[in-house]
């Protein structure tokens, strides 16, 4: 009787585990295994070559450029969109009546738009001759730039549009965190004479730590998954200056049909991302639980 009961318990887990196993976990091991094979157009039959793919990856100057591009993207979009989101969340959290939902809606709606559509729109906005970006920057004294067609500015253009697309969601998470802070903390602080910056430093910031950690993790994962906007806006160009990790993997796997190399890059991608997340939890995660 008891055994039947146990079996049904595992039965409940089965559907989820089945799909997860086939489409998430087995693929991870499959990539790791395939990364040890030479398997491309010239070698249609996979042949086992130990770690030669990895050596080839690390020897390719383009790989390092791609990694650099992706790190630049991460180290600019993450702090900029997070601080913008936090700042606006604090403003919107003030007492203000019905206009709040108006502001909130106008800041959050880009989350609802497919990245591909957003990218299309920004190609039009960044258009060198007719685009509104150059037009309005002209008022601030900027020269007309070629943006997506210029090796120096293409990545910056992608960073600008990505911040526009993503900060609204982060703002909402911060807003949820802010609303969870009991008001009497601030009242008590006000009685003790703590105002403005001090309230932020000693109440808001530590109380927001779980929300900040969540946003940070989401932002890291999404900044290393960036693909759609690159695909639509630049195809990695000009001169590979906007080529990022997932786009690089896509090129190897589905343009050059180099499945061995694609698997090697995929494996490095997963390892890198897991190490990054693990580091964040080690360094920041602990403090979060102590402070709350």
């Amino acid at each position: 009787m008891k055994r039947i009961y146990r079996l049904t318990t595992y039965g409940y887990l089965l559907p989820g585990l089945f799909f997860m196993g086939i489409f998430t976990f087995i693929p991870v091991f499959m990539s790791a295994y395939l990364s040890l094979f030479k398997w491309n157009i010239n070698n249609p039959e996979p042949s086992f070559t130990w770690f030669s793919n990895y050596i080839e990856v690390f020897k390719a100057p383009l790989f390092w450029l791609v990694l650099r591009n992706n790190l630049v993207y991460a180290f600019t979009t993450i702090p900029l969109s997070m601080s913008l989101a936090l700042f606006l969340a604090i403003l919107i959290n003030q007492k203000m009546g019905w206009v709040r939902s108006l502001y909130r809606g106008s800041l959050f709606y880009p989350t609802m738009i497919p990245m591909v559509a957003a990218a299309m729109l920004w190609v039009w906005i960044f258009n060198p001759g007719l685009g509104i970006f150059n037009y309005y920057l002209g008022f601030l004294g900027f020269p007309k730039l070629e943006w997506l067609y210029d090796m120096r500015y293409a990545l910056i253009a992608i960073i600008i549009m990505s911040i526009w697309k993503n900060f609204g969601y982060y703002m909402l998470i911060f807003l949820a965190g802010l609303q969870g802070i009991p008001n009497h903390y601030y009242e008590a602080a006000a009685i003790e004479g703590a105002t403005g910056w001090k309230q932020f430093r000693y109440i808001t910031f530590p109380m927001l730590a779980p929300a900040t950690l969540f946003v940070f993790i989401v932002a890291i994962i999404s900044s290393f998954q960036v693909f759609d906007q690159v695909f639509v806006m630049t195809q990695g160009g000009p001169g590979d200056r906007t080529n990022v990790l997932v786009f690089y993997i896509y090129q190897h796997a589905f343009r050059f049909w180099d499945l061995g190399m694609g698997s090697t890059l995929t494996t490095l991608f997963i390892l890198g991302l897991l190490v990054a997340i693990w580091l964040v939890f080690r360094v920041i995660g602990r403090r979060v639980y102590y402070e709350v």
């Binding site: 409940y12 919107i92 106008s106 738009i113 299309m120 037009y135």
Partner: protein, 277 residues
């Protein structure tokens, strides 16, 4: 007049928020404005925000050039298909994680959490090979399969189930309402807000999926809106902006209309998405 006084007291705050909101909303107005212009109206030295005369021809023309109605239908099928199966898998798993003790529970829960950290982008190559092996490429099911299990959804729902008092379950079991019936008649109705929140997030994110459908489809019959839009751009090679913006507006409209109508529900759902147990 209370509002006016309030506005004066906090004019700095409103000034900042208004400027930032305007900058965020302007790009979308620019889509609509461009999509309603005549081709020649685009080539003006100063941006023309209000299209006049209005031209709705672009919206009719885009349907002649590509089967957007078919893309819309495919997107709806794929998105609801994913959500339907997800709701079953996450509810069953969340139920045992929240309510039962069994050997290996911690390990299995860890597996479900790990899935959140491994992005689909890192699995697309092996998944492509798997689907190719089973001859499933270029089908609607292929676009859904990798998303049927959701560690994230399981986690959210487990938190909701845990809040429901244990005494309720004891009472239900005594009345002969255990297992699946308890789940169906008691837990699911009580966890409805979480289920709705998860559904909204799932619909929005899969409506926007791009890379995976791009890899597994190669004919218009099964393509979704996002892929259709991407193809449309290549077909048009960026020449006709009025037409491209009409297509962009059409692809973005369904989710934005839902968002405008149910703004409160959407905002609550996305806020809930970040709450950690």
């Amino acid at each position: 007049m209370k509002f006016n006084r309030h506005l004066r007291n906090k004019s700095g705050l409103h000034l900042i928020l208004m400027v930032v909101s305007l900058i965020t909303v302007a790009p979308y107005f620019w889509i609509l404005s461009t999509s309603l212009k005549f081709r020649t109206e685009v080539f003006t030295q100063t941006p023309k925000w209000i299209p006049w005369p209005i031209n709705i021809q672009n919206y009719l023309e885009m349907f002649e050039m590509a089967p957007f109605h078919l893309y819309l239908l495919n997107t709806i099928i794929v998105v609801t298909g994913i959500l339907g199966v997800q709701l079953v898998t996450i509810t069953l798993a969340a139920y045992v994680f929240a309510r039962k003790n069994f050997w290996g529970k911690e390990f299995f829960f860890f597996l479900f959490l790990t899935q959140m950290m491994i992005p689909i982008h890192a699995t697309f190559l092996p998944n492509f090979l798997t689907l190719k092996h089973f001859d499933l490429l270029n089908t609607r099911v292929a676009m859904m399969l990798p998303f049927f299990a959701s560690g994230y959804g399981t986690f959210l729902l487990r938190q909701a189930f845990r809040q429901i008092p244990k005494a309720l379950e004891d009472a239900a079991v005594i009345d002969g309402c255990g297992g699946l019936r308890f789940l169906w008649h008691v837990l699911i109705p009580l966890a409805k807000p979480t289920l709705i929140a998860f559904s909204i997030i799932s619909i929005v994110s899969h409506w926007n999926d791009y890379l995976w459908p791009l890899i597994v489809t190669d004919t218009p019959e099964v393509r979704t809106l996002t892929i259709g839009l991407g193809m449309f751009v290549q077909q048009e090679s960026g020449a006709d902006w009025t037409l491209l913006m009409a297509a962009t507006a059409f692809v973005t409209a369904p989710m934005l209309i839902f968002f405008l109508v149910f703004q409160k529900k959407f905002v609550e759902s996305f806020m809930l998405s970040g709450v950690k147990g």
